[in-house]
Amino acid sequence: MTDEAGVSTDPNVDLRAKLMKADRSGPSRLICIFPLDNADGTLDMIYMFQRKDEVIQYRYKVKEGAELDSISDLYKGAWNMEREAIDMFGIRFKGVPGGLFLMPETGIKAPLLKPKVPTVGSAQDVATEVKKDV
């Protein structure tokens, strides 16, 4: 497997250029698009493709809730994968609605995001504010 770790925080330009280049060098098959939560306010977006017998993995670090370009104009199969990422991780793709899965309005938003544990400092700050209010 070729793991092309993206250093850019903005995959919008970089990924599209790579995919267009990949199209010229031979047909590549989309395998999957999915996010990983790093639990530090960032997500890793992983785009997996197959070219002949080689699996290629493009990886980008993006901020939580970032808006990315959809690649569903290049691969129609990307549409539902992006919708799932919207539902499960709260990431956004331009022109792509969420709502792939039927989830109630009152349900947990982005359920696969890791819970945020406040640091000691911030917890104390909150406690101080509460005291002031009292």
């Binding site: 047909p27 539902n80 359920p111």
Partner: protein, 360 residues
């Protein structure tokens, strides 16, 4: 110009085994456009599997009851890839036998289901009668009919004794002529051909852009099979195997690919039985997996992928499951427009839409 009528199709519909909703826009009897909605069977399996990597060897099978062994195997393969485990050859052969056995039960289910959608009830019953025999064979090896619980990271938990192997071989000899008879019907019967030939065509270009996999892709001229590339867990050394594929891209081609693969699976099981040698069943592994890895397998509906990030503890950080049905169902939006309304169930069933896998 006629008025456009909107017909809701599903989520509960006699021709669907599982809940899937199609909003069909029709001009008289012809489908003009379709909107799909899913998620009626979402169970949060990816989240549930983050809790305990040992439990997941059994939980992964619960994603789907028709390709449960494929899910369990692919999960174990991924943990083996992360932990660097070398699976013993005997375990690989037993896995291959079970994978092919379940492919037969899945394909005969789908073929029977297509026959029912076509209105060929007799053929439906014949496919299900033969399927039952293969379900019994799976039960003979594993002790279970649906969720086999045979896989474990590093190998398998149950062996195939010489007596069981002999019984399996005899049963396959008995079943092959019955499957060949059904193959003749699927290949030549005029009722079947009229309802499936040239219906619901998916071209090679459409199949590529929709990223479809498995028999749906192979029926549209894409001879891709994970068993031949990128699947470390499948035992194919010294085994004759060529992917089955066709170019027509219609319902008939999708049925024929499955029919030919059913017969091919019988041959693969026989070849594997001839290669069973004494040896260990499982590679020992202590501690917890640590790192990232992915693995793929050719499930009955196509490429199944697990991607896992482990952090050296009993919990897993992320489990991603990309099932074949997840990518095979959306192209219905291109296959259905232009068809007659009575053909809708046939086309939908021909892609083998497993909603359990799709929704997870």
């Amino acid at each position: 110009m006629s008025r456009i009528s909107t017909i809701p199709f599903g989520p509960q519909h006699p021709s669907f085994l599982e809940p899937l909703h199609l909003k069909l826009n029709l001009e008289e009897e012809r489908v003009v456009s379709v909107e799909l909605s899913q998620g009626y069977n979402h169970r949060g399996m990816e989240y549930a599997m983050e809790k305990d990597w040992k439990r997941d060897a059994f939980l992964s099978e619960r994603v789907c009851g028709i390709c449960s062994f494929h899910h369990g195997t692919t999960y174990c393969q991924t943990i083996e890839a992360i932990a660097g485990l070398q699976v013993p050859e005997r375990a690989l052969i037993i896995r291959t036998i079970m994978l092919e056995l379940q492919r037969i039960t899945s394909h005969t289910l789908t073929l029977g289901h297509i026959a029912e959608a076509v209105g060929y009830e007799n053929l439906f019953m014949q496919f299900f009668r033969e399927r039952e025999e293969f379900m019994r064979l799976a039960n003979l090896i594993s002790g279970n009919r649906v969720h086999y619980s045979m896989n474990w990271p590093g190998g398998v938990r149950r062996d195939i004794s010489p007596e069981t192997a002999k019984e399996l071989e005899n049963k396959l000899d008995e079943m092959l002529p019955k499957l060949q008879m059904l193959d003749g019907v699927v290949r030549k019967d005029s009722t079947w051909l009229k309802r499936t030939k040239g219906i619901g065509v998916l071209t090679k270009e459409q199949a590529t852009t929709w990223a479809v996999v498995g028999p749906v892709a192979r029926a549209s001229g894409i001879p891709y099979d994970v068993r031949l590339s990128g699947n470390a867990g499948y035992h194919l050394e010294g085994i004759r195997f060529e992917p089955v594929w066709r170019e027509e891209g219609d319902c008939w081609a999708r049925a024929m690919v499955r029919m030919d693969e059913t017969l091919q699976s019988v041959d693969l099981i026989r070849q594997c039985l001839g290669q069973l040698r004494d040896g260990p069943l499982v590679a020992q592994f202590k501690g917890h997996p640590n790192g990232e890895g992915f693995s793929r397998n050719e499930a009955p509906r196509g490429e199944l992928m697990y991607w896992i990030r482990a952090k050296g503890e009993s919990k897993l950080d992320r489990v991603k499951i990309r099932t074949p049905a997840f990518v095979n169902i959306p192209p219905l939006a291109e296959m259905l427009p232009g068809c007659e309304f009575p053909d809708v169930p046939v086309i939908v069933v021909s892609v083998d839409p497993c909603v359990c896998c799709t929704d997870r």
